[in-house]
Amino acid sequence: MTVSPKDAVLELDAVTVRFGGLIAVDGISLTVEPGARWAVIGPNGAGKTTLFTTVAGERYPTSGRVRMFGRDVTRTPSHRRARRGLGRTYQVTNVFPRLTVVENVAVAAAAAAPGRLRFWWPGRPDGHADETLEQCGLASRRDHLAGELSHGEQRQLELAIALAARPRLLLLDEPAAGLSAAERVLIRDLVRALPEGMSVLLIEHDIDLALDLVDQVLCMDNGEPIATGTPAEIRANEHVQAVYLRTDGDGEAEH
């Protein structure tokens, strides 16, 4: 199968995920074009993270299909998807706490380098890693253990690890979760500065922040898609408003 540049980066076709009796994701279909920026919004428990997990291949859908970079990857393990150009960050910080900051990023950069299994370093070990650290504002923390960083810095590192592999499709699960207003600005600028060709899916509870960063929005509730459209359309959508009124604002309570 050849991949032409016009092909969508990601196509979801009626993806459904069940946990026993609970339907966490219910028939989501979505097409993401190269370079598109999508927000995925919805109240707590809407199934946003589960949807990401399915796109990432950490869990296979109960039914429905996932195509990525022009191939069917419905049952392809996550490391293969990652190698083809998928990156993701986690809602609950998931870094390597006992590696140094630069090692955290270097391990991701090394994965992207050709020839995965190496017993020696190609050239300087962390050239690209340092670039990524610079970009994410972590250069000064380079040699600290990741586990010793502040929460905000760990969120930056979370992003840096995902970026180090230079993904074509990036899934950001509440990158600003639990951050102060100042730190949120930092993350916002980081996301805004992502390379243009990179497709991004962003989960974010702060609607204003989210809609500010994207050109397309998917709104979910109870696993179902209740609306898709541009930020303006979504703001105007009554159904979306109803969902958000029902859950009383932006559902920030969780963290």
């Binding site: 950490e58 990652a82 986690y90 390597f96 391990v107």
Partner: protein, 323 residues
């Protein structure tokens, strides 16, 4: 020396290299200054040190503690013993089959264990080791059961104890060097990442199962070398090589010396082997003593010797640098 103490930096490189040179010098000098008992004991410590290093490669870096590596160690020793005592095979064949048996078992055990982790991994590897022990005891035609295998002889160039000592020292030094290369390579970094978060590692593009398996087989490779050395050193192989206590003792060496360090397991091996050989002349209850040390170390000193010294060193350096 640079002014900034890296938080993870153990001791600056020059001191490390100095210590290494000192250790090698001491190793080289030992047969000149010590008696035959000390040389024989040190040989055993070198072999067990290599065995402990093999377990540590997986446990200290990959976060996977195998309780059954004595099975791999034992299978390699039996491989040598079987060819030497039951067939006409020369040294080439003995080495080949010892290694092949060790690697084959590592691969089989690795495939079985690679989808498990943490406590499950521990249980599975423990069972694997015990099964080898059970086979060693019962499979008379191959292992000689309780009688073991005699008829293993050292090659002519290492007949004397001091010669075998130098051989063991050289093998340990080479293997330790190789392990260091592995640990510092991209593969080693991924292995350490695996210990911290396998979901994140997979999402970064690494096959978690593949890395676990490769780590297991590499670790089995070094355990096999140790087992082969053991067979020649002892010139006799019996079920006790594959005993659970062999694994437990190696783990104690690692904990005593320092988990996830290169020198720790070897230091631990020297302490344990010397204490055991000196003490066992005085007291019969060595396993009890070992078990008690085990409990005390786990409860009170889990960083081990190297970890403790490193900490003190870092504290000292930091204090000196603070104005």
């Amino acid at each position: 020396m640079t002014a900034i103490a890296l938080p993870r930096a153990v001791s600056p490189g020059r001191i490390k290299i100095g210590l290494l040179v000192l250790a090698l010098l001491a190793g080289w000098a030992l047969p000149y200054v010590a008696g035959p008992f000390a040389v024989a004991t040190a040989t055993l410590a070198l072999i067990y040190g290599l065995f402990a290093l093999s377990i540590n490669l997986l446990a200290g870096y990959g976060g996977l503690l195998s309780l059954g590596h004595a099975g791999i160690f034992g299978v390699a020793a039996y491989g040598v013993g079987y060819i030497a005592s039951r067939t006409e095979g020369g040294y080439g064949a003995q080495l080949f089959w010892g290694m092949a048996a060790g690697l084959a078992v590592s691969l089989i055990f690795g495939v079985m264990a690679m989808r498990t982790r943490r406590v499950y991994f521990l249980m599975v590897t423990l069972a694997q080791g015990m099964i080898v022990y059970g086979l060693a005891q019962s499979l008379e035609p191959v292992t000689g059961a309780e009688n073991g295998l005699t008829g293993v002889y050292r090659p002519a160039f290492v007949l004397e104890d001091w010669q075998f000592y130098y051989l063991s020292l050289a093998v340990l030094a080479i293997c330790a060097g190789l392990i260091q290369v592995v640990v510092r390579s991209p593969f080693g970094l991924a292995l350490r990442g695996l210990a911290d978060s396998d979901t994140r590692l997979a999402m970064t593009g690494y096959s978690v199962v593949g890395h676990r398996l490769l780590g297991f087989v590499l670790s089995g490779f070094f355990a096999s070398i140790a087992g082969i050395l053991y067979a020649y050193n002892n010139e006799y192989v019996s079920p006790s090589v594959a005993e659970f206590n062999t694994s437990a003792q190696a783990i104690l060496m690692i904990i005593l010396g320092g988990v996830g360090t290169l020198s720790g397991p070897v230091i631990g091996a020297f302490v344990i082997v010397f204490v055991q050989n000196v003490l066992s002349l005085q007291i019969e209850r060595w396993p009890t003593v070992m078990g008690l040390i085990f409990i005390l170390m786990v409860l009170f000193a889990r960083n081990g010797f190297v970890g403790g010294v490193t900490r003190l060193w870092n504290r000292y350096v930091r204090r000196r640098e603070e104005p």
